[in-house]
Amino acid sequence: MAVLPPMPKLWYRETKPHKFCPGCGHPLVLKALAYAIEELGIEDRTIFGCDIGCSLLAWDFFNLDTVQTHHGRTTPVMVGIKRARPELICIAYMGDGGGYAIGSQHLVNAAVRNENIMVVLANNTVYAMTGGQMAPTTLPNQKTETTPYGRDPEKTGNPTLGPEMVAAITPDTAYVARGTVAKLGQLKSFFKKGLQRQIEGKGFSFIEVLSGCPTNWRTNAEETWNFLENEMTRYFKVGEFKVPGQVKEDKNE
């Protein structure tokens, strides 16, 4: 038997090597996601939607019916699909720019309405596809193409804390977590929990993933891991923010 690359079955081989840069975090997210879907056995009814941003490079990534949408608009497209055909499992995949900036109204309102879809957001602290501008998640003092002297929180605020925000506005049945490509096993389990919610018709799940962008960070492998595991985690706590059943916050009513 020929030795074959250890690719998830769900990865569409005809398009591999994929289009992401060397060392990119996106394919790692998509690896964990593939395993989660395979383990749940929902390949036959899962629809994948990707945003504009480097996530668009995943438009032909999976053995899944896939639609590449517009910058920030993957959430409404997937909501539209889900509302039309609730039997489909819908996953919206986007970057931090797509989810927290231009598409934030969709994220917030899909969360509030408890839409029965899963949103996966790759947080790489920059607008990667457009060449490394400031994103809502850019760290204080981080240099980007539009903060050439470092992001000044006095002028542009602190990084957006997405899962924290979504947890604050979703009902108890929702699932909200932040994973990282540095912990793929954990990430897979987060995805499975989120998808499980959807399978059960229990509503919205949101998983942010800390993800590397060596190209725009201009980092080598060591620096990439360091930024991911040490710099980013100082602001972005990895873990679960809302697990159905485990109610943390006090609630009105």
Partner: protein, 87 residues
């Protein structure tokens, strides 16, 4: 749908290190994560014309499969050399 892939197989410590040069983009992520630092640059070139990786640059491989897991391109497959269970 099974495509044949070129493979470079090298043995190191407990591991059989299969590297698929048509997939490896030479990012080095695997190298950094190897607990025994056995991964280093090879002289073979990968899909982007940059060097691929190989074992044998540090302590012997313990077949932990970390490199396999962290490779964004699924360019490494690790097999255990002995009849130990693979996972």
């Amino acid at each position: 749908m099974t495509t044949a892939y070129k493979v470079i197989t090298k043995i190191d410590g407990k591991g059989v290190f299969h590297l698929f040069p048509e997939l490896c983009k030479g990012c080095g992520l695997c190298m950094e994560k190897c607990p025994v630092k056995t991964i280093g640059w090879a002289k073979e070139l990968g899909v982007f014309g940059t060097p691929v990786v190989e074992p044998g640059h540090g302590e012997p491989c313990i077949a932990c499969k970390t490199c396999e897991m962290v490779c964004p391109d699924c360019a490494i497959l690790i097999e255990r050399r002995k009849d130990e269970k693979a996972d």
